[in-house]
């Protein structure tokens, strides 16, 4: 009897200590998960400066880049907005074209041999050539930027959506046939939900690459946006500005990726609980 009481007391003492320790550990591990990548990036950065021996305008120190970000914030913000809006518009167009084409190709399969080779060809033209042609055709403006981003992005959406629309289980299609469901209903209530996880997977690719492509397009043909800032800064030996802009673009790209993952976990039926 006494023995049991003693063990009982000991256990309760343990649990109260555990109750205190567990959340502290959880917070610590969460902090570490955020801090570690930043620390490792900074560490490698300093290591690169130390080992390469390159001049400051080629590889500036992190604190210098931060200072530039703060000092030039108005100019950078202005160009950042331009890049972001081009990326966003391109992202939306890539999806409209990709999903739209996939729907057409699924409803009218005989068009597939007509459209797919062209889609593959356009996808495989180097963006540099495309950018040059577009700059010649419509000049340095939003239209050419958005077009390049859409062309770079529509293909993964198209391929994934087609695959998703075809991933429908045949027994489900048989069931719909026996229940006399119309083709429209089958498309929207069976095929599209089946395709949803595939479409979302494509967003993770297209979403983050649209920023990268937007910056590249601006670098080549534009007189505005983050890509242009990089171009101009390089001509003025302003490595700190290049790094500042690159850091922002990378952060945005990463942010979009994380956001899309967050959304997909809530939208996609294969992650329902």
């Amino acid at each position: 009897m006494t023995f049991q009481t003693a063990t009982g007391l000991e256990t309760s003492g343990k649990t109260s200590r555990v109750r205190l320790v567990v959340p502290v550990l959880a917070i610590a591990s969460r902090l570490l998960r955020i801090a570690l990548p930043i620390l490792s990036i900074l560490g490698f950065w300093y290591l690169a400066i130390l080992l390469s021996g390159l001049p400051e305008f080629v590889i500036p120190r992190p604190e210098q880049v931060l200072a530039t970000l703060i000092a030039d914030r108005e100019m950078i913000w202005q160009h950042l907005l331009l890049t972001l809006s081009a990326a966003l518009l391109g992202f939306v167009c890539a999806n409209l074209v990709g999903i739209g084409l996939a729907m057409i190709l699924t409803l009218l399969p005989m068009l597939r041999s007509l459209v797919m080779p062209t889609a593959v060809a356009i996808r495989n033209v180097p963006y540099v050539a495309l950018a040059t042609v577009l700059a010649l055709a419509s000049g340095d403006n939003m239209v050419s930027k958005v077009t390049i981003i859409s062309i770079a992005g529509f293909f993964p959406v198209l391929v994934n959506t087609v695959r998703g629309l075809q991933s429908v289980d045949q027994v489900v299609l048989d069931r719909m046939h026996v229940l006399n469901a119309g083709p429209w209903r089958v498309f929207w209530q069976v095929r599209m939900p089946y395709a949803l996880p595939f479409i979302i997977a494509a967003q993770e690719i297209v979403g983050s690459s649209s920023i990268v492509v937007a910056v590249a397009a601006e670098w080549m043909i534009s007189s505005s946006g983050l890509g242009f800032v990089i171009n101009r800064a390089m001509a003025q030996y302003r490595g700190d500005q290049v790094y500042a802009v690159a850091l922002l673009a990378a952060l945005m790209s990463f942010g979009i990726y994380m956001f899309l993952q967050f959304v997909s976990r809530r939208v996609s039926w294969n992650s329902y609980r």
């Binding site: 027994v171 026996v178 939900p193 294969n270 329902y272």
Partner: protein
């Protein structure tokens, strides 16, 4: 003849329309008969089915057994309007399958559950009802009736194989079709679950009678559940025997120990496994 008991075994040439078992008629005025007349089906050069003639009377339960690839599933697909015969006709009531399908008279239970992976059990049953615009059954009550009361808000991947097949069945009959076409519905389940669901199906059909065509490769299951068992030859599939199981349905689990059950399953086994040898020595 190597085996007696011709009262059970009717060769194809002696084909007759079975009247069904008398005590069931009348109770099933709403059910429809299914008929196959001179049906054959050819896929390219492969003859899958050769001159099939039989009738499933209204309210009757007919099981089709035969080796893999003998065309028994094709036969079912013909009745479901999922495939067309190369020659001959299929009818449900007095209509072709396409018309019966349009009038929502067909319920199809597939081997793999035809449920939508993003729909919870009760929602999946409602999908059938929404598409067919028939909701005389309450979906939740139907599932509760099938022993799934506490599982009706689960997603397909949260359900076991046996439970999933019950949801599949509920979704297949939620519009109250007249005929039920079942294609190896329990073949993905283990032996115990299969027997349990067989008993459950028998009981369910007693309460909601339907003309049933049941494809299986399990001889025991066929004899346990059916009024008649049609035995098929290897491809091209032909009916080599039409065996009546006269014990009233639904049968209890102990029917498996009944001498009649033992005799019938032994006879079907003999027909299925000895047939090629008879052909060779003939």
């Amino acid at each position: 003849m190597a085996h007696g008991g011709l009262e059970y075994v009717l060769l194809l040439d002696d084909w007759t329309t079975y009247p069904g078992i008398p005590y069931r008629q009348g109770a099933f005025a709403m059910s429809l008969a299914i008929g196959y007349r001179n049906v054959s089906r050819r896929f390219g050069v492969t003859q899958a089915l050769a001159s099939i003639n039989f009738e499933v009377a209204a309210g009757e339960f007919v099981a089709l057994v035969g080796p893999s690839g003998c065309g028994k599933s094709t036969l079912l697909r013909l009745a479901a309007d999922l495939d067309q015969p190369s020659t001959g006709t299929v009818h449900i009531g007095d209509q072709p399958p396409s018309e019966a399908r349009r009038q929502l008279k067909i319920g199809l239970v597939s081997q793999r559950p035809a449920v939508l992976p993003w729909k919870r059990a009760v929602e999946d049953v409602r999908v059938t009802q929404r598409i067919t615009r028939r909701n005389q059954f309450d979906a939740a009550a139907l599932l509760a009736d099938f022993g799934l009361g506490e599982h009706q808000m689960k997603l397909p991947r949260q359900l076991s194989g046996g439970m999933l097949q019950r949801v599949n069945f509920a979704s297949a009959i939620a519009h109250d079709p007249d005929v039920l076409l079942m294609d190896e519905p329990f073949s993905a389940l283990d032996e115990m679950k299969r027997e349990e669901l067989g008993i459950w199906l028998g009981e369910t059909l007693r309460r909601r009678p339907k003309t049933t065509l049941f494809v299986t490769h399990h001889i025991d299951e066929a004899v346990m559940l059916a009024d008649r068992v049609l035995v098929f030859s290897p491809a091209p599939g032909r009916i080599i025997a039409d065996i009546a199981v006269e014990t009233p349905r639904p049968r209890r689990a102990d029917f498996r120990a009944d001498p009649k059950f033992v005799e019938l399953t032994a006879r079907i086994r003999h027909l299925l496994f000895d047939t090629p040898f008879q052909v060779m020595t003939a």
